[in-house]
Amino acid sequence: MTSIATFRGATREFRFPQGLGVVLLLLALVAFGGWRYEGFLGSYNVLSVLRYSSMFALVSLGMCFVIMTGGIDLSVGSVAALGSVVSAMLSPYGLLPGLAGGLLVGAAAGAINGLIITRLKILPFIATLAVMLAASGTALLLAGNQSVSVSYETAFMTLGQGDLLAPLRPEWIDAEDANWFAGPLGLLFGFPTPAWIALAAYVLGAIVMRWRAFGRHVLAVGGGEEAALLMGLPVGRTVFIVYLISGSLAGLAGVILAAQFGAGQPVEGAGWELFAIASVVVGGTLLTGGKGSIVATLAGSLLLGLIYTILNFENGMGWISLSAYWQSVVRGAFLLVVVIVQASFMKNTKS
């Protein structure tokens, strides 16, 4: 062999990092809100948005894992409702039993999803639809068709309403300080417990995706199940685990729901699955699987929550008055625009 050819593939050029777009859009919306509305960037508003968004963020994280394998989990909303009921019922026994109860019932629902999908080879859409109905019914049965009060005797409520670092706050920092610039430390010490939980989950999720074999297997299964099988990857186990994760995170979101509103809510959670899917898609994760970003999913979920807040502020300014129905329409339209812009981006970078 005398002639040795050298091949050059595509050279590494600048490419729009996946998910950067949605992060930029999120920052732009924050800047817009801060410029337009008084109190928008005040710690009170920021913290309550974060507190409320954390449940959705958790559900979206689980959904992101599922969608990256090319699946879907429609059961997250009603599993969260079931989790909230179970944790509310266990709340008199303390914070930990309440937390564990919600988590475990979510994990159980996720495991059922995973088993139906991997063992019985039922399509995820159908399997999780069935579990969605079953979980919803179970929640209503347990709760007797009404909300279940949370015990105020135990520390359970702090999971939703507390601020993790508040006990450490020095006297001179005012947690209620409405001025962002005056109180970044106030923000830290006032950072809601549920937001810490969500943040921790996302950091863990991002590490798993990047640095653990499991994370790469998730993307490999979504990118080509047949190929993943032939490569000898544990496809069934990977798929099972993502549904287990999704169910557990939905259960956790249910715990926070109960703790935040002081009651287990058997009829809450309707439509959460769609919110979660929307967050994941806005974050640029492909619905067909194989490609996705944890960070962008967080940004997507915050983005969708933020639009809601902005519409509320807009209403508050008195210029226009949008009913909740119109708000849904606006959010839907926004989602569509983001997805279309993303799709055209993908096309451009590909060619």
Partner: protein, 520 residues
């Protein structure tokens, strides 16, 4: 190098396998020496794929003995085969396009540091090193989809080699490569050989075999019919062995039911010039007159189906021209082609043709529906009348027009498909393997039908891998070889030997010595 005298690396002897009672392999054998490139060839259904699947553990054999590297071979899955030293590179490359080059090489046995975290740096370096062995230098962090098919294939090979493979099976690796990429692959194969790795190379392109293979194993009807040194085997001999024809004894025996045609052939209906489609077809020139049955012959992968699909508007062509009924007719979609009077009976009726859960009536009139409907409402009386007429005329055996088509035999399903197009009163009908998988009786009936419709002025373009069918059925034959029309035969020139000769090395400058032999 006299590879045959060494102790074989792989030995498969007396392999039997049947699927649902239909034998796919009967006593087939394959032997590969260390560091040898063995060609494995045969027509469709000869048993090559089954052989490969048995070897890589995807299916179990019914009988026979396999030894690999001196020990009995017992792999029961592709993964187990891989661990045991046999890797397969499939035709449709089984890698994950979204993931990086590194991941595609290391997925499933990632390099981990302490606490099980991925050691990306080590994996990137490993991937670079593996690819460098084949003189491939690319950014291994890039997703695989950013690279050409040739590079992807090289990644697949690097993955195979990184499993310490001693035998790499390549199933039609060149089918989606262009000429330059094929050369790259050949170089890789030679490097594998130099590193002591044996290769089983499956391809339908004969020139390629001469370029890289040491020996050839030829299969037909589930049996191994010949093993020879590549250099001792002429192309014509290869083709004859594959088709099971004794060159000296090729006769025109009247065993098909086309009968004598050739009368009342009318004016030119279809003509293509310089048609180029996708990667396979470079320059196809074919023509059909009304009332004429034109055969399109060629080996598998010569571009017959692609040419037909392009004529029908089912695939875009990148160069050349199609003329239909005297006018330029570059149909953009089958819909346009159908409107102009074309029909296309596809090769695989299970996939492209029938809708199994629908009735005979619905299947037959699927393409006719737009013509039957007035402002969206189907004229059911006319539909019923047409269906009834064709069921009798063509002789479709069914309990009623409402019987589900999946309950019919293959031959009758094919007749329904023929009727689907005939009831539209087309000017030209394209038939891709019209009698494949049909029993002998039904085959004859269908051949008679085709002839009778041609006599009424229908132009027919017939693709068939059965030489007899072409020799006896066609009034004129065009032979494609590697995407080019290499020969045209009129009725009285058509013979099996002439066709085989053209299929094997039509268009070669020097038809006596195989092109590419100089590379060996």
């Amino acid at each position: 190098m006299d590879t045959a005298s060494q102790v074989p690396l792989l030995s498969m002897q007396g392999i039997d396998k049947s699927f649902g009672g239909v034998p796919a392999l009967t006593g087939a054998s394959l032997e590969v020496a260390p560091a040898e490139v063995m060609a494995l060839i045969g027509q469709n259904g000869a048993g090559k794929s089954t052989m490969i699947k048995i070897l890589n553990g995807a299916v179990a054999s019914d009988g026979g003995a396999i030894t690999f590297a001196g020990a009995p071979w017992t792999a029961n899955s592709p993964q187990a085969a891989q661990r045991g030293g046999i890797s397969t590179i499939f035709q449709e490359i089984n890698l994950i396009a979204f993931r990086s080059v590194t991941e595609n090489i290391y997925l499933g046995r990632e390099i981990k540091s302490r606490f099980g975290f991925l050691d990306w740096r080590a994996m990137h370096e490993g991937a670079r090193g593996l690819l460098a062995r084949f003189d491939v230098f690319v950014d291994v962090r890039e997703p695989l989809m950013n690279f050409s098919t040739a590079i992807r294939q090289m990644v697949a090979i690097a993955r195979a080699v990184s499993f310490e493979a001693r035998l790499v099976i390549m199933d039609e690796p060149t089918s989606s490569l262009d000429e330059a990429e094929v050369q790259i692959l050949f170089q890789t194969i030679r490097q594998l050989k130099a590193q002591g790795v044996a290769v089983v190379f499956v391809s339908h392109k004969l020139d390629e075999l001469y370029a890289v293979c040491d020996r050839v194993t030829i299969m037909r009807d589930g049996r191994t019919v010949a093993v020879a040194n590549m250099a001792d085997m002429g192309k014509l001999q290869l083709v004859a062995a594959m088709l099971g024809r004794d060159l000296a004894e090729i006769r025109k025996a009247g065993s098909t039911a086309f009968g004598e045609g050739g009368q009342a052939i009318g004016g030119e209906l279809l003509a293509t010039s310089g048609l180029a489609v996708g990667r396979r077809v470079q320059s196809a020139d074919i023509a059909v007159r009304s009332g004429e049955i034109v055969g399109l012959a060629g080996l598998l992968g010569s571009g017959r189906s692609e040419t037909a699909r392009a004529v029908f508007g089912a695939e875009p062509h990148r160069a050349g021209e199609v003329r239909f009924a005297g006018r330029k007719a570059d149909f953009a979609s089958p819909r346009e082609a159908i409107a102009a009077g074309l029909g296309f009976c596809t090769e695989d009726r299970k996939i492209d043709g029938i809708v199994p859960e629908m009735s005979v009536r619905e299947n037959m009139t699927l393409a006719l529906l737009p013509a039957l409907a007035r402002s969206g409402i189907v004229d059911e009386a006319r539909q019923a009348e047409i269906v009834k007429r064709f069921i009798t005329e063509i002789g479709i055996k069914c309990s009623s027009p409402e019987q589900k088509i999946r309950e019919l035999s293959g031959g009758n399903q094919q007749k329904v498909l023929l009727a689907r197009w005939l009831c539209m009163d087309p000017k030209l009908l394209i038939l891709d393997e019209p009698t494949r998988g049909i029993d002998v009786g039904a085959k004859a009936e269908i051949q008679r039908l085709i002839r009778s419709f041609a006599e009424r002025g229908l132009g027919v373009l017939m693709i068939s891998s059965e030489l007899e069918e072409i020799v006896e059925g066609a009034d004129r034959v065009f032979v494609l070889r590697e995407g080019r029309t290499v020969e045209e035969f009129d009725k009285d020139q058509i013979s099996e030997s002439a066709l085989m000769n053209a299929m094997a090395h039509g268009g070669d400058a020097d038809a006596t010595s195989p092109k590419g032999a100089a590379f060996v």
